[in-house]
């Protein structure tokens, strides 16, 4: 077990190093033209050269790479050309926004996904099961950005249940920054109106992200429960005369929960990806939208910063899933 953990941690370090390197090479070697994007194509030569010097693009590649690594260790990506601020500062603002969204969405997905999945497995091949299978297949096929647009059209425009976008209403100022999570910070400061307003703004994007992940969790829950429900000890438990509820939740669900837990971990990784599209649709100022905007304006430092941060989170969630899996399932020997 310990050996496995150590091996997995070493792999994690290798992967992070690789991710960082690939990000650097993608953004430096392949011929996009960031300077041209900033100054326009017809910029005078001196200006272009000055800009290149400013960005360090005139240095040989090896030097650029070591400079980049040095900066990375201090969590310094340089200045974003779009926002004119330190990229790391921008990330500090946008990252918690995405985390807040992802956690809320995950919360929705876990509750809905597991309950629908359990019902589906227990009522196998009945209408509840068929309905939930279609629901989850539609969910995993759903383009997040389109679902977001439908939500805006129906829930915002026609029903007025969610706001148009953003993170807070214009007349409400953000709570004093502690964690950067508005829900948490507003509670700490005792500003309940801010709390409700933040929650209200999270609702739309969290439902979109949550529905898609609900579908994944529901599928895994169903198949995992079905497998366990076929085991002989479940029959024994029923023959013993235990109530069905006890059989399902105490005997079956507990043993079915390891794959579900894994799926939840994987879902969290998917959310980082889904947040890019969802945040763009809802105009939610999070990491995903920040990344997209920096991509579109070829804002090199911001691109590197946001991609690195997203990849690290993703690798970290995979690491946690693997370790949890090893820790929870006594049948697995490493």
């Amino acid at each position: 077990m310990l050996k496995y953990v150590i091996k997995r941690l070493i792999l994690f370090v290798i992967v992070i190093f690789g991710v960082v390197t690939i990000t650097f090479f993608i953004s430096h070697v392949i011929p996009a033209d960031p300077v041209g994007a900033i100054l326009g194509e017809n910029a005078p030569q001196e200006l272009v050269e000055k800009m290149e010097r400013q960005l360090g693009l005139d240095l040989p590649l090896g030097q650029q790479y070591t400079r980049y690594l040095k900066g990375l260790i201090n969590w310094n990506f340089g200045i974003s050309l779009r926002t004119q601020k330190q990229v790391s500062e921008d990330l500090r603002v946008y990252f918690p926004a995405t985390m807040e969204l992802a956690f809320l969405a995950l919360f929705i997905a876990i509750i809905l996904g597991i309950s629908i999945g359990v019902i589906s497995a227990v009522k196998r091949n009945q209408w509840q099961d068929n309905a939930s299978r279609v629901f989850s297949l539609v969910g995993i096929s759903m383009p997040a950005f389109w679902l977001g647009l439908l939500f805006i059209l129906i829930l915002y425009y026609h029903l007025g249940l969610i706001p148009a976008g953003g993170r807070l209403s214009p007349h409400i100022s953000p709570p004093p920054m502690v964690s950067g999570l508005y829900l948490l910070d507003s509670l700490i400061a005792g500003q309940f109106r801010t709390f409700w307003d933040a929650l209200y703004h999270l609702l739309g994007p969290a439902l979109v992200l949550g529905w898609i992940q609900t579908a994944y969790i529901c599928r895994v829950t169903r198949s995992s429960m079905l497998e366990v429900l076929n085991e002989e000890y479940i029959r024994t438990a029923r023959v013993k005369g235990l109530r069905e509820r006890v059989v399902i939740f105490k005997h079956a669900f507990r043993n079915a929960s390891i794959p579900i837990l894994t799926m939840i971990g994987i879902s969290f990784g998917y959310m980082l990806e889904g947040s890019v599209l969802t945040e763009t649709v809802f105009g939610y100022p999070g990491l995903g939208r920040y990344a997209v905007n920096s991509f579109l304006s070829l804002d090199l430092n911001a691109v590197i910063g946001s991609v690195t941060l997203i990849a690290i989170c993703y690798a970290l969630s995979n690491l946690i899933v693997d370790l949890l899996y090893a820790a929870l399932d006594p049948r697995i020997k490493y």
Binding site: P31, S141, P143, W146, L149, L153, E273, L277, T280, V292
Partner: protein, 306 residues
């Protein structure tokens, strides 16, 4: 006389071919039977067939030219003349969706045409030779898999410059590790079997063993996986076009149509809604088919159904 003899020979050959391959033939018949028995798989198959027909015969089916602009008929609501309405340049949305099927299928086919051979090549090499070759290939695969796919595809797509071609390259670069891993695992398990040992004892070269014994088994596994991935490829490509990092106008790409139609969501809902529905339907069809094929090709589930 000569032709009669040739005919007889051919007939004999067909009969003997049938006999030699009788197990494969009955296996194939059983597969067809299982597909027919599963209604959801049939629905998936039907959706995909419609997509393929739309893609091939687009010029004959589509009522209008997908890029012809009619500025006097902008943003017309669905009507008899334009069943799904027109977009902000007066182009017929239905025609653009029909042509878009070709774009979507092209993306899927090209990505897989890059990734399947690449994955097989790297996976076979890693699994068969092991040692440092294996270590290097699989660690690179790990690194590529450590990015969320859309993010990596976005990064590569942006660096190469946003276009349909670069979208396909970018998606292909994010997906190869899946196939390489599968092919490697498959190779590892086959390599140890006795029939390979026998081949080796007979002095068969590594190359021959790889190509004639291991490759065919890998290919079928990888194809099953590929059908499961087709929906995802469409979804990622649509996502990239939606963000403006993929196909560029005036390509009739579904994701791009939703993206430009976004501005008209409230007052002309049909502009972004129908292309988005096409994406959902296509991905749904591929997922249904992929699920069905996975179940059918799984020997455990297959036995269970009989």
């Amino acid at each position: 006389m000569v032709s009669n003899l040739a005919k007889e020979n051919l007939q004999n050959w067909i009969v003997s071919w049938g006999k030699r391959h009788s197990s494969e033939i009955s296996d194939f018949k059983e597969t067809v039977y299982l597909i027919k028995k599963s209604p959801l798989t049939m629905v998936g198959l039907a959706v995909i067939l419609i997509l393929i027909i739309m893609a091939i015969f687009a010029p004959y089916i589509a009522p209008y030219d997908p890029v012809a602009m009619h500025l006097d008929n902008r943003l017309a609501p669905p009507s008899k003349a334009h069943l799904l309405g027109t977009d902000e340049l007066g182009r017929d949305i239905l025609s653009r969706i029909i042509y878009g099927a070709g774009v979507a299928l092209k993306i899927v086919l090209i990505v897989l045409a890059i990734d399947l051979p690449l994955g097989i090549l790297l996976g076979l090499a890693a699994g068969y030779f092991g040692g440092w070759i294996d270590e290097i290939i699989m660690r690179i695969a790990d690194i590529f898999m450590a990015f969320p796919r859309l993010i990596l595809a976005m990064a590569i797509g942006t660096a190469l410059g946003p276009s349909l071609r670069n979208t396909m390259i970018a998606i292909a670069l994010t997906m190869w590790p899946v196939y390489a891993r599968l092919a490697r695992g498959e190779t590892l398990s086959i390599k140890e079997r006795t029939f390979i040992e026998a081949e080796r004892a007979l002095g068969t070269s590594n190359f021959r063993i790889l190509v004639f014994n291991i490759l065919p088994i890998c290919v079928s596994t990888l194809i099953v996986r590929a059908t499961l991935d087709m929906g995802n490829i469409i979804r990622i490509a649509a996502g990239m076009s939606f963000l403006g990092l993929g196909a560029q106008p005036p390509t009739p790409d579904w994701g791009l149509m939703v993206s430009t139609g976004r501005n008209f969501l409230i007052n002309q809902w049909w502009v972004p809604t129908f292309p988005g529905f096409a994406i959902l339907l296509a991905v749904f069809g591929f997922n249904l088919l992929g699920d069905g094929i996975r179940d059918i090709s799984d020997p455990y589930l297959r036995r269970g159904r009989q």
